[in-house]
């Protein structure tokens, strides 16, 4: 699959977006502004965590994906999905029924991503043993890796240089097919993603040159397709397809799924806003005496992924039950000849720090901008209302020194300027329309938003 610079999986549907401030306030990197009545995402800052999608009251955000029709381009079609997918389905639906439905939808081979998890465990352990500075940070969640890269550049060297599980699983699937005499050219690997971050990571990989996945399937779409064709009872025995699956693999993407392999010297944090707090502390040197830090962007790990259907806690519960039916992962990977090729592939290149939050590459200019932003902040009301189209007063001041906003964007300042007769009412109205769109302030009883939908 071709990879793209600055690719993001999350897009805004300009027709659906009503230009409220929910997403803007929820974004952990302040990447969203409202312009012309719609949300605009700053590609440099976005880490594809999907919090905007969760916060949106009108489903205006969508996730880029490939359609199942692409399957027909390949003779052999591999469904590669993380174990959390199975956890979404109600107890009455067995994993065998899900596997059969996938075959019915046109896949010829099925692999759960976490099958070669012992290779990952082994490699991370080796990295921990050899690490000069600890704690090592998991590279599992692509949203977190991007967050560290842009917002915590001093911590990139703590990220374990191992590949993402889906990439490793794709290598594994390709090798397994090769052993059956199936060539790579005839094979399409379709990765079923539980979230936008993993989708973006496939199109724009970190720590490697090229992703080995051929197509990206949106898990919530696939869920609906499966439900449409699923049989009420199992017809065939598909358990052979799952014989490499382990308890550790099934638990890997849930909270403590990775950390539990470093008992006593590890910590697991889920939810990107919680992760931000821990990374702040780690930068201060306040997270001592740990070997391994598991950080996941979604609450309840991938069970809370934005492309999952159903409740995250129920999904975790089902997966924990499911895992108990599987054996634990092999501990001594060295002896397994099967894994030799994977152990070559598991290593990733180190991740370079980004300086996304820098005000200017020229330090003198950056300092001047900082001073200017401070002076602007004296004028702003510190209400953080978002009526300017920026998430808070601080962000607006920074936008101003970067030339992408002006003083009159603040409605309170603009009001003052009007009272002081510095700007006309017409001009002020135009300014508001620049941010919130035309006719936004006309009376309209059917206006969407602003209705406490959450209560």
């Amino acid at each position: 699959m071709d990879t793209v610079d600055k690719y993001h999986a999350i897009k805004v549907n300009r027709e659906k977006c009503i230009g409220c401030t929910h997403c803007m306030k929820a974004c952990p990197t302040e990447a969203i502004r409202v312009k012309g009545g719609v949300a605009v995402i700053n590609a440099d800052r976005c880490v594809d965590c999907g919090n905007c999608l969760r916060a949106c009251p009108v489903d205006a955000f969508y996730v880029d994906h490939d359609s199942l029709e692409q399957l027909s381009n390949y003779k052999y079609r591999v469904a590669l999905f993380p174990a959390v997918m199975v956890g979404q389905f109600a107890e009455t639906i067995s994993e065998g029924m899900i596997y059969e439905a996938l075959l019915k939808l046109g896949f010829t081979h099925i692999f759960e991503v976490e099958q070669p998890v012992e290779v990952l465990i082994h490699e991370i352990r080796q990295n921990v043993d050899l690490a000069k500075q600890k704690p090592l940070i998991s590279s599992f969640c692509p949203a977190i890796v991007r967050l560290i890269q842009s917002k915590y550049p001093s911590l990139v060297e703590y990220i374990v240089p191992v590949k993402a599980p889906h990439d490793l699983a794709a290598c594994y699937a390709i090798e397994m097919l090769k052993r059956q005499g199936i060539s790579r050219d005839e094979t399409g690997i379709f990765y079923v993603s539980p979230c936008s971050a993993k989708m973006a990571a496939v199109k724009r990989p970190m720590g490697e040159d090229k992703s080995v996945v051929d197509g990206l399937i949106n898990m919530s779409r696939l869920y609906n397709r499966i439900m449409a064709v699923i049989d009420k009872k199992e017809q065939a025995n598909t358990s052979d397809l799952r014989k490499k699956l382990t308890l550790d693999g099934i638990l890997w993407s849930l909270p403590r799924g990775e950390a539990r392999h470093f008992k006593g010297e590890s910590m697991a944090v889920d939810g990107i806003h919680n992760v931000v707090k821990i990374l702040e502390r780690m930068e201060n040197g306040e997270v001592p005496q740990l070997d391994f830090l598991e950080l996941k962007s979604c609450h309840q790990g991938c069970a809370g992924g934005i492309l999952l259907t159903g409740n995250r806690f129920l999904t975790v519960e089902r997966l924990q039950k499911r895992s108990k039916r599987y054996p634990v992962a092999i501990r001594s990977v060295e002896k397994e000849n099967n894994y030799f090729y994977l152990r070559q592939k598991v290593k990733a290149d180190p991740i370079a720090p980004g300086y996304v939050f820098s005000l200017d590459a020229d330090r003198e200019k950056a300092l001047e901008k900082l001073r200017k932003a401070d002076r602007i902040l004296c004028q702003l009301p510190a209400i953080d209302c978002g009526a300017c189209g920026a998430p808070n007063c601080h962000a607006l001041a920074e936008d101003m020194v970067q030339g992408s906003a002006k003083m009159t964007d603040c409605i309170f300042l603009q009001n003052r300027y009007m009272n002081e007769k510095k700007i006309t009412i017409d001009k002020a109205k135009k300014n508001l329309e620049n941010t919130w769109g035309k006719n936004r302030f006309d009376a309209d009883c059917n206006k969407k938003g602003g209705r406490n939908e959450g209560f």
Binding site: E283, N284, G285, F357, R363, L367
Partner: protein, 136 residues
Amino acid sequence: MTLEFNIRRGDFATVGKASSRIKKVLKQLQVDAKVIKRIVVAIYEAEVNVAAHSEGGRIKATINAHQVAVEVIDDGPGIDDIEQAMQAGFSTASKEVREMGFGAGMGLPNIKKNTDKLSIESEPGVGTVVRFCNNF
């Protein structure tokens, strides 16, 4: 530019505010990540020192295009023997402070390790001034 922070005696909840704020500014100035890490650890240690050992004080950070210089001024009680305080593991921290996970005697040694220049002036009964700076 200059940033100033007050730290009250025994108020560990505010410890970390100065280092976090200064860190944000240094990132906006695109200072090298490794340089940021060192100075931030030093400032954090200084914050803990003021909260744990002094009657309260303030931190003043002056940032220009080439360096960050930090001045930590407290209102007493002062350090009796600076040389001894600089030794790794030496601590006069109270039982309460130790129970909170501070007071391991690594504060000043850690500041020295993470800064380019460090000076300490102290007058028993009056207070201590710690100055350190890192070049970019």
